[in-house]
Subunit: 148 residues, 2 copies
């Protein structure tokens, strides 16, 4: 896909990513480095936890979502996020196949910087059952194509 | 530190993490796997980007923040977040020394589940200059000590 500029986007536009499959080893390896809690690193301990079984760190789901988004949403100059909201409606489990559906929800050209705008995108990360495991609504900086 | 229950927390309470130092190799390794964009993986390309130099993926900053929080905020049963808001006021750079300051901002005992409550925590991740590189305000599920 060719790079997308502010002028190429419209509210309601959707982008669907490829899929990525998560296994228990990936979950445990990420968690050992970034979120070393028993429900992310140990199947037996996880059974007795609030998750009732091994679950991926929410930040692992977030990082994998970013990986998929980089490929699915080829914004000119890259995907640069200033922040937003994130939630994990249900855990990501070993064997889950994740796909991201992105939808453009707002486009605001910058008043002070005529070379760019702010675009709000809702990224829903779904498992193989179509259930949302993460919903993130993020602000992106997107360049304009036309320059003086 | 002993595990913290809902009864042990109060609004305004603060927790400070240890520090972690980020180098260029760590930034590039994370980015190759989860956020493969030139400004996160290549110094030369990064100079010409919106960041003006190599910058960590925001999700890397988030993951490192989680790592620090797991040690700094020993909630009973673990740090279980339902979601919240996140922003990256400035980039995380090679050589940055990150520390997280957590502050309890709201405590809401559950009406439907008397064994737990919802706690809102503001996590500010700062570099060695005291500047915020990430601000995350997250909802945590925290168990109560006293059970019927």
């Amino acid at each position: 896909m060719s790079p997308l500029y502010l002028e190429d986007l419209r509210v309601g536009q959707r982008f669907t990513s490829r899929s990525v499959t998560l296994d228990a080893e990936m979950i445990k390896a990420f968690a050992r480095e970034y979120d070393p809690q028993p429900f992310h690193t140990d199947e037996e301990a996880a059974k007795k936890s609030i998750f009732g079984g091994l679950a991926a760190s929410g930040w692992h789901t977030a990082a994998l979502t970013m990986r998929l988004n980089v490929e699915a949403l080829p914004i000119a100059g890259g995907l640069v996020g200033g922040g937003g909201e994130i939630s994990w409606p249900r855990p990501t489990r070993p064997g889950d196949v994740l796909t991201v559906e992105a939808e453009i929800v707002e486009i605001v050209p910058s008043r002070s910087r005529p070379d760019r705008g702010r675009v709000t995108v809702r990224f829903e990360t779904r498992n193989q059952h179509g259930e949302a495991v993460q919903v993130a609504t993020m602000q992106l900086v997107v360049p304009r194509r036309s320059q003086a």
